[in-house]
């Protein structure tokens, strides 16, 4: 197990290097001009000399490989550079926003896993029953619905029509202090929407897994021995039905990150996503590269996690190495 973790960590190094270089290359090839993005509206009246000076100050005129190498070497020494679009050190940008994104993603993930598992087990108990048919068709519909659209729908219903939940932000607009109650009420909609957009995958996997397990001989044997329905369902069915879902948990991480990106935009959630979008359109190399490394690391960790869980849950699965 430790060896597998070590090997994966070693393997992550070239992946991360390639990804950061890719970010620099793609950003350099994009038609967006970093200096213009930096200057904003003032750039539309600035003289060419002024713009050229800023170009030199920002070091934008250096070749791609030099800039990547400079970024990499200072990043390894702990200096992630300064974000040109946020006018702040990259570390500050990430620290200020990361935990709000983590909060949103964790809540959403928990909603998706718990609700998906619960509903999946209930549906598997009576395949073809009203609950199964209802939830399954809803799940297929949800799979096709973009998170963005779900978010707008939720705002329309809960914030505008019913007026029960706030439409966006981390706290009320007038409030300056961040209190638990404020954040909790503002978290409900974005977390629920993001969670529900992830829910179909978990639900469908668990439903299938548990249905299959219930049809297997050991379960039929258990039933025949007169064990309670509850024990059969949770002890036998869910246990073996859970296995494929463990893989799913890891592989949903990238989806969760992109989903969070959209949800944060829709709900004006001050997370890392808004910063990512701005960094991309403004060709903010330092911030963009740092965020990409983080996202890549999250995906790699997600995969590792699901493999570890799988190995722990099923003794027949060996750790690779």
């Amino acid at each position: 197990m430790a060896r597998m973790t070590g090997r994966r960590a070693l393997f992550a190094v070239p992946v991360l290097l390639t990804v950061t270089f890719g970010v620099f290359a793609v950003a350099a090839a994009s038609p967006f001009d970093q200096v213009k993005a930096y200057a904003g509206t003032a750039g539309l009246t600035a003289s060419q000399e002024n713009l050229d000076q800023i170009r030199a100050n920002l070091g934008v005129d250096q070749p791609l490989v030099t800039r990547w190498w400079n970024w990499l070497t200072s990043a390894l020494q702990g200096d992630l550079g300064d974000s040109t679009v946020m006018r702040q050190p990259v570390t500050d940008v990430i620290v200020e926003r990361m935990c709000w994104s983590a909060l949103l993603a964790t809540s959403a993930f928990l909603i998706a896993i718990l609700l998906g598992t619960g509903l999946g087990v209930l549906a598997a108990r009576r395949p073809g029953g009203w609950l199964d048919r209802g939830v399954s068709s809803a799940a297929y519909t949800l799979e096709a619905a973009p998170a963005f659209w779900l978010g707008l729908l939720a705002i329309w219903l809960f914030a505008l029509k019913l007026g029960v939940l706030p439409a966006g932000g981390l706290t009320d607009t007038a409030s300056e202090t961040i209190t638990f109650g404020q954040v909790a009420s503002h978290l409900v909609l974005p977390a629920a929407v993001l969670g529900i957009s992830q829910l179909p995958w978990f639900f469908l996997y668990v439903r299938q897994g548990v249905t299959d397990a219930l049809a297997e001989d050991p379960v039929r044997g258990a039933r025949a021995r007169g064990l309670s329905e509850r024990t059969v369902l949770l002890g036998h069915g869910l246990r073996s039905g859970m296995l494929p879902m463990l893989t799913l948990i890891g592989s949903r991480v990238p989806e969760l990150i992109t989903g969070a990106l959209l949800i944060e935009t829709v709900f004006s959630w001050p997370g890392i996503a808004a910063a990512t979008v701005e960094a991309a359109t403004s060709v903010d190399f330092s911030l963009l590269a740092a965020l990409t490394v983080l996202a890549t690391a999250a995906v790699l960790l997600g995969n590792l996690l699901s493999d570890l869980l799988y190995g722990l849950a099923d003794p027949r699965v060996a750790f690779d190495g």
């Binding site: 003032a42 750039g43 003289s47 006018r87 718990l114 439409a167 981390l170 300056e176 004006s268 910063a275």
Partner: protein
């Protein structure tokens, strides 16, 4: 598991996750405990977010920044008034030396005293090439700035520049803070400290800026104690949150502002502006560069209809960068819509209608592209209306949308639907729009306009300190624009704001093209006298 127990489990886990992460998510700059009951607050919705709050990088350069003060400030009538200076500057005979006496006893919000060294530091830093300030050219005239003792600052100029005093509205930064860090990326760029009526308590990027009244403000503590600017880029969301009571005021486009017209509790304010929309007619284009085509387009275009149809009446026809109601406008240079006259000009110049109705001269078809910024609905509508008016006169204008990256390399030959406008002085717009030596210099003189008489007049206008003489110079410029229009100016746009009535009758300033933070009725929020008795804590 029953549905109820699932709900319970979800709620419990959510709460745990929240508690765990929220504990880690500290709020680094949460203010000291709220000032309790009786505070008055105002929350306004704006569409624009600044990149930086550092005056050294260009924030608040046109004055009125709330967190900072300039040496001078502009009042409701756009007249210069002393702020951190005790009086308007003393200007030497030759117009090359400006001397400011500074207000004494002023403190920055961190308690340290403001002094001449801060003024010198601010201007010298902006002029330093290492500072990434994209508006540095505006201080081009400055040769040097020096302190004479604690209370006097002297600017020496490279050339006489009449509107220089207007430039000294730019905010003064504290040397003891901003001088200690990287001017381009230091903490000061997001956590500013100034002498102004408000202190920034929190800037949640993309969400809002929160201010609290500066109790030690030299101009007296503001009555509106808490002031919040919510950044809401989407017009519809802003209107919705205004309607729901989340906001006390907001800037709105004309069609959405109309929805609040009958509202008893809210008032709509239309701020006059210098914000123009114009079509550049580049000299390098064979068609657009032809003076007769330019003059024909100038009268073929129906500005009144644009104001009524595109702006819902909230604006004015424009004939140049100077709005028709400005004291600098030259009466008699209005060009009414006259299609017959346009056709006559083209006929006389030899532009004859071809088979498809498009005019031709010496084998050149009267056609050119007109670019507008994609996604900007207002510019798109102006461009389409302009093309349709031109078509009636036999000139075929093809509208195309693009980002600035696409448009910029084409500006030399293609027409662009451009916007701009700074109200403080007629020099600010006209010099950069019309000076021939600035042709193709960044976004300056995008039309490559070249007119000796105009060059001479705008030079004279910026050098002379005498107002009558300046007016004469700008009259010349506007009359020349009738004879040879390098741009077709279309409209000046009013900015509309809807604000809660409880703040009493409010005023607006004449506004520039940029929607700065402090544009709108809240330009003087520090002087608001809310009617409420202190129940407005929101």
């Amino acid at each position: 598991m029953t549905a109820r127990s699932i709900r319970g489990a979800v709620a419990a886990t959510l709460a745990t996750a929240l508690a765990l992460t929220a504990a880690a998510c500290s709020n680094p700059d949460s203010p000291k405990a709220g000032s309790g009951t009786g505070t008055t607050s105002a929350v306004v919705g704006i569409a624009y977010e600044p990149d930086s709050l550092s005056p050294l990088l260009g924030y608040g350069k046109d004055g009125n920044s709330k967190i900072f003060d300039g040496l001078l400030t502009l009042d409701a009538d756009m007249k210069l008034q002393p702020a951190l200076a005790t009086a308007l500057p003393e200007i030497s005979e030759d117009g090359l030396t400006y001397t400011y006496k500074l207000r004494q006893g002023v403190k920055f919000s961190d308690g340290k005293a403001f002094g001449a060294k801060d003024v010198v530091f601010t201007y010298r830093t902006i002029l330093d090439a290492k500072t990434n300030n994209p508006s540095r050219t505006e201080l081009d005239a400055v040769k040097d700035v020096t302190a004479k003792g604690e209370d006097t600052v002297v600017f020496t100029l490279k050339y006489p520049y009449a509107p220089f005093a207007q430039r000294t509205v730019l905010p003064i930064a504290p040397e003891h803070i901003a001088g200690e860090q990287d001017v381009n990326t230091g903490a000061f760029t997001t956590k500013p400290i100034g002498t102004g009526p408000y202190v920034l308590t929190k800037w949640s990027k993309g969400e809002k800026l929160s201010f609290t009244a500066n109790p030690h403000y030299w101009g007296g503590e503001p009555e509106v104690k808490k002031f919040t600017m919510a950044i809401i880029k989407d017009d519809d969301v802003r209107a919705t949150r205004l309607r729901s009571g989340d906001l006390d005021g907001a800037i709105l486009p004309p069609n959405l502002a109309k929805g609040f017209a009958g509202d008893q509790g809210r008032k709509t304010y239309a701020a006059n502006s210098y914000d123009y929309r114009t079509v550049t007619l580049p000299t390098n284009n064979k068609v657009a560069g032809d003076t007769s085509v330019r003059r024909a387009l100038d009268v073929a275009v129906d500005r009144r209809t644009m104001v009524d149809a595109i702006l819902n009446g909230s604006g004015k026809p424009a004939y140049g960068p100077v709005p028709t109601d400005s004291e600098w406008f030259t009466q008699g240079t209005e060009r009414p819509h006259d299609l017959a006259a346009a056709k006559k000009i083209l006929d006389e110049a030899g532009w004859k209608p071809g088979k498809d109705g498009v005019r031709v001269k010496d084998g050149v078809r009267a056609t050119f592209p007109l670019w507008y910024l994609s996604g900007d609905k207002l510019r798109q509508e102006h461009a389409l209306a302009y093309a349709s008016d031109a078509k009636k006169a036999g000139i075929d204008i093809r509208t195309e949308a693009g980002t600035w990256e696409v448009i910029e390399p084409r500006m030399k030959h293609d027409a662009v639907l451009a916007g701009g406008g700074s109200p403080a002085d007629p020099d600010f717009d006209q010099y950069t729009l019309l000076k021939s030596s600035l042709a193709g210099d960044g976004f300056n003189n995008m039309a490559w306009y070249d007119n000796k008489a105009v060059d001479a007049a705008i030079e004279a206008g910026r050098k002379s300190g005498d107002k009558a003489e300046r007016k004469k110079a700008y009259d010349t410029v506007q009359r020349e624009l009738v004879k040879n229009p390098g741009y077709t100016f279309l409209t000046h746009i009013d900015h509309l704001y809807v604000v809660d009535d409880r703040f009493g009758p409010l005023t607006t300033q004449v506004e520039p093209h940029d929607h700065g933070l402090a544009s709108g009725p809240w330009w003087n929020v520090e002087k608001w006298k809310p009617e409420s008795t202190g129940d407005t804590e929101k």
